[in-house]
C-alpha cells in the first residue's frame, strides 16, 4: 500500500465518506488511488477555496470531520481562506495537500510554496511528511486532533514522491482520551443562587461539543433569560420564552439591555468576541462571570472571570440541570423584566401590508422563516443579509444556521450549502446571499448542477456592498467609496446559463409565491430578490463603542464620524 492508498485507508477506518477536492500535479497519486476506491465520494468543486468552505459546511451541518484536498502551490494557497474560516470558528477539518517531491523542496520548483510556513497561524496543527512510514501515525493523529478538545483544522502536506512510496505496516497511533476529573460545580451553583439578575450567554461551543440537547434541557428547566452569539443562534430552540436573541453589534436591544443590567453572566461555549461584547469596558459592567469552555486559553483572555470551569459540557450541563431541578432559581421578577424588554426590544420585523411596496430584507427573512420547515438549513454569506437572517430567522437548532462568524468570509454560503447538502442529501438547504458575496464563489453553481443538488439560492440584491455602504453612511460622513455594484450581471440569466432555473421578485406581494416556488421545485433553483440600496441593518453599535450605545433607525444620522 503506497502513501496515497494509505490516506484512503485512513478515510475508510474513520468513516469519512465524502471529501471535497480539486486535482493537480503533486496530488495526482491520491487522485489515481481514488479511481479504484469505492468507499469515498469525491466532490469536485470548481475552486479550491470552495473545497475548503464546502468541507466546513459539511462539518457544521453533520457534526462530523470535513475533509478537503488540493495540490501544491496555488491549490494550497487557494485553500487558505477556507481553512482560516474553519480555524476562526473551530470547525474540525482535515486538509490534505500534495507538495513538490522531497528532493525539490526549497528549490523554487514548479508549484512549490511553503505551505507549512504560510499556514501556521490558521491551523490547530500541521504536518509536512518527510518519511512515508510516518504517514499512518500522522493521519491517525491528525484526524483525532481535528475533532478533539476545541476542534479545528489540521493540515497534512505530503510530497508527491511519498504518496507513491510503499508504506510499511507500522502500528497506528491511538491516543487515549484524557480523563479529566469532573469539575466541582458547588461554587457555580452558589453564584447562580445568589444572583438576582443572571443571564445565560451561549455560543458555538454548544454544538461543537455536541451538547445541543443538554443545553436546551438546562436552558428550559433553569428558565434563565438567555442571549446567544452569532454562532450560538439556535441553541435555545424556537420555543424558549426566555431567549432574547443575539447580542452584540447587530444584536437585539433586549439582549444588550439584559446583559448591561445583569449581575451574573453564565457564559457557556463562547469566547467573548468583540462583535458580541462591544467595548469591553462597558460590557456587563455589574456582572460577575462564570465561564465554561473547552479551551483553557479562552479563560480570562479578554475579561477576568470569577469562576472558570473546564470539562465535558454534556456532563456539566446535566449536573447543573439536576442541581437546579429540586430548587428552582428565584428570579421571577428578572424573568418578567427580560420578557418586557423582549416585547419592546426584540426582533419583530413588521410585514409590509402594502403589496406593491419594495421588499425589505427583514420582512423577506421573516416570511422565509415562517414558510420553511424547522429542519431547513440556512447557509449565509457575509454582510447585511447575514445579519437579517441572524436577527429575523427563527432557528430551532444551531446546526441549521451555517454562518462565517469569526472570519466573516464573503463567498462562504454557496460552498457551505453544497457541503450541507452532501451531509444530508434529503434535507432542504438554502443559501441566503447578497449580490457581493454571491459573486465571490458563483462558479460553484457548476458544482450544484453537476451533482444535481437541490440547493436553493436566494440572492438579496441591493446592487452594492450594503454593509460597507451602511457604515460609510453612518460613520464616514456618507462618503461612499467603492461599494457600487450596479453593473452586476443578470443573476437570473446567469443561473440559467448553469442550467439552474431562476425567478426574479421585487415587490412585497411576490415574496410568498417566490419562496414557495423555489422550495417546491425538485432541484436547484435561484430566487433573485431586488431590495433597496438604502436599507440598513438596525440596530447597530459603532465598531469600538459600548453595546449600550446602540444606534437604531430613529437616531440615524449623517453626521461625520470616523472609526479608528
Amino acid at each position: 500500500m503506497n502513501g496515497a492508498q494509505h490516506i484512503l485507508d485512513a478515510f475508510h477506518r474513520h468513516n469519512v465518506s465524502t471529501v471535497f477536492g480539486y486535482p493537480g500535479g503533486c496530488i495526482m497519486p491520491l487522485y489515481d488511488a481514488l479511481v479504484d476506491d469505492v468507499g469515498v465520494e469525491h466532490v469536485l468543486c470548481r475552486h479550491e477555496q470552495a473545497c475548503a468552505l464546502a468541507a466546513d459546511g459539511y462539518a457544521r451541518a453533520s457534526g462530523k470531520l470535513g475533509v478537503c484536498i488540493a495540490t501544491s502551490g496555488p491549490g494550497a494557497t487557494n485553500l487558505i481562506t477556507g481553512v482560516a474560516n474553519a480555524h476562526r470558528d473551530s470547525i474540525p477539518l482535515l486538509v490534505i495537500t500534495g507538495q513538490v517531491p522531497s528532493g525539490l523542496i526549497g528549490t523554487d520548483a514548479f508549484q512549490e510554496t511553503d505551505v507549512l510556513g504560510m499556514t501556521l497561524g490558521i491551523v490547530k496543527h500541521s504536518y509536512l511528511i518527510d518519511d512515508a512510514d510516518a504517514l499512518p501515525a500522522v493521519m491517525e493523529e491528525a484526524m483525532e486532533l481535528a475533532q478533539s478538545g476545541r476542534p479545528g483544522p489540521v493540515w497534512v502536506d505530503i510530497p508527491k514522491d511519498l504518496l507513491l512510496t510503499d508504506v510499511s505496516d507500522a502500528p497506528y497511533f491511538h491516543s487515549e482520551p484524557q480523563k479529566t476529573s469532573f469539575p466541582d460545580l458547588a461554587d457555580a451553583l452558589t453564584m447562580l443562587r445568589a444572583a438576582r439578575k443572571p443571564i445565560l450567554y451561549s455560543g458555538g461551543g454548544i454544538s461543537l461539543a455536541h451538547a445541543e440537547d443538554r443545553f436546551r434541557t438546562f436552558a428550559e428547566s433553569a428558565a434563565l433569560p438567555s442571549v446567544v452569539t452569532l454562532k450560538g443562534i439556535g441553541n435555545p430552540g424556537k420555543h424558549n420564552p426566555y431567549n432574547l436573541g443575539m447580542l452584540g453589534m447587530h444584536g437585539s436591544r433586549a439582549a444588550n439591555k439584559a446583559v448591561d443590567e445583569c449581575d451574573l453572566l453564565l457564559v457557556i461555549g463562547a469566547r467573548l468576541d468583540d462583535r458580541a461584547t462591544g467595548k469591553l469596558d462597558g460590557f456587563a459592567p455589574n456582572a460577575k462571570m462564570i465561564h465554561i469552555d473547552a479551551d483553557a486559553a479562552e479563560i480570562n483572555k479578554l475579561r477576568a472571570t470569577e469562576l472558570a470551569i473546564r470539562g465535558d459540557l454534556n456532563s456539566i450541563l446535566e449536573a447543573l440541570t439536576n442541581a437546579l431541578q429540586d430548587k428552582p432559581l428565584d428570579i421571577g421578577g428578572w424573568q418578567k423584566q427580560c420578557r418586557t424588554w423582549y416585547t419592546t426590544g426584540g426582533f419583530h420585523a413588521a410585514d409590509n401590508e402594502e403589496p406593491l411596496a419594495p421588499i425589505t430584507g427583514p420582512a423577506f427573512v421573516r416570511q422565509l422563516s415562517r414558510i420553511a420547515l424547522d429542519d431547513t438549513v440556512i447557509a449565509c454569506d457575509v454582510g447585511q443579509h447575514q445579519m437579517w437572517v441572524a436577527q429575523h430567522y427563527d432557528f430551532d437548532h444551531p446546526r441549521h444556521h451555517l454562518t462565517s462568524g469569526g472570519l466573516g468570509t464573503m463567498g462562504y454560503g454557496l460552498p457551505a450549502a453544497i457541503g450541507a447538502q452532501f451531509a444530508d442529501r434529503k434535507s432542504t438547504v438554502i443559501n441566503v446571499t447578497g449580490d457581493g458575496s454571491f459573486m465571490m464563489n458563483a462558479q460553484e453553481l457548476a458544482t450544484i448542477r453537476r451533482y444535481n443538488l437541490p440547493v436553493k439560492l436566494i440572492v438579496m440584491d441591493n446592487q452594492c456592498l450594503g454593509m460597507v455602504r451602511q457604515q460609510q453612511e453612518l460613520f464616514y460622513g456618507n462618503r461612499e467609496s467603492q461599494i457600487n455594484l450596479d453593473d452586476n450581471p443578470d443573476f437570473v440569466a446567469m443561473a440559467r446559463a448553469f442550467d439552474i432555473p431562476a425567478l426574479h421578485i421585487n415587490r412585497t406581494d411576490q415574496i410568498r409565491r417566490g419562496i414557495e416556488t423555489i422550495l417546491a421545485y425538485n432541484g436547484p433553483m435561484l430566487l433573485h430578490v431586488a431590495i433597496s440600496r438604502e436599507d440598513n441593518v438596525w440596530p447597530i453599535v459603532k465598531p469600538g463603542a459600548s453595546n449600550r450605545e446602540m444606534i437604531d433607525e430613529t437616531r440615524r444620522t449623517n453626521k461625520k464620524e470616523h472609526v479608528a
Partner: protein, 92 residues
C-alpha cells in the same frame, strides 16, 4: 534628538519544551508575535526528541495569556514561566 522615554515594558523569562518537528520554532515564534510579545533573547538546545527553548520576552499584555496559548500548541510539552526580570525602560 533627545531620546524619548518609552512606556515601561515588562520582561519575562520563559522555558519551553517542545517536540522536534518541521517548523517547531516558527510555530512558537508565530504565537509569541501574534499574541503581542517581542523576543529579546532566545536559546535553543536539542535534547533527543525535544527542543528546550529559553526565551526572554517583552510585552505589555498579560504573560499568562501567552503561556496558555503556547501550552495549547500540540507539540509543546511544557511552558515554565520564570520570574519577571524587572522592568526595562526603552529609549529611542
Amino acid at each position: 534628538m533627545k531620546p524619548q522615554s518609552q512606556p515601561s515594558t515588562p520582561s519575562y523569562n520563559i522555558n519551553c519544551r517542545m517536540s522536534q518537528e518541521a517548523a517547531a520554532l516558527e510555530r512558537l515564534c508565530q504565537v509569541i508575535r501574534i499574541r503581542g510579545f517581542r523576543i529579546a533573547t532566545m536559546a535553543v538546545e536539542s535534547a533527543g526528541e525535544h527542543l528546550d527553548i529559553t526565551l526572554t520576552l517583552e510585552g505589555t499584555r498579560p504573560i499568562a495569556m501567552l503561556q496558555s496559548q503556547l501550552e495549547k500548541l500540540h507539540t509543546v510539552a511544557e511552558v515554565a514561566l520564570g520570574q519577571v526580570s524587572g522592568v526595562r525602560v526603552q529609549t529611542a
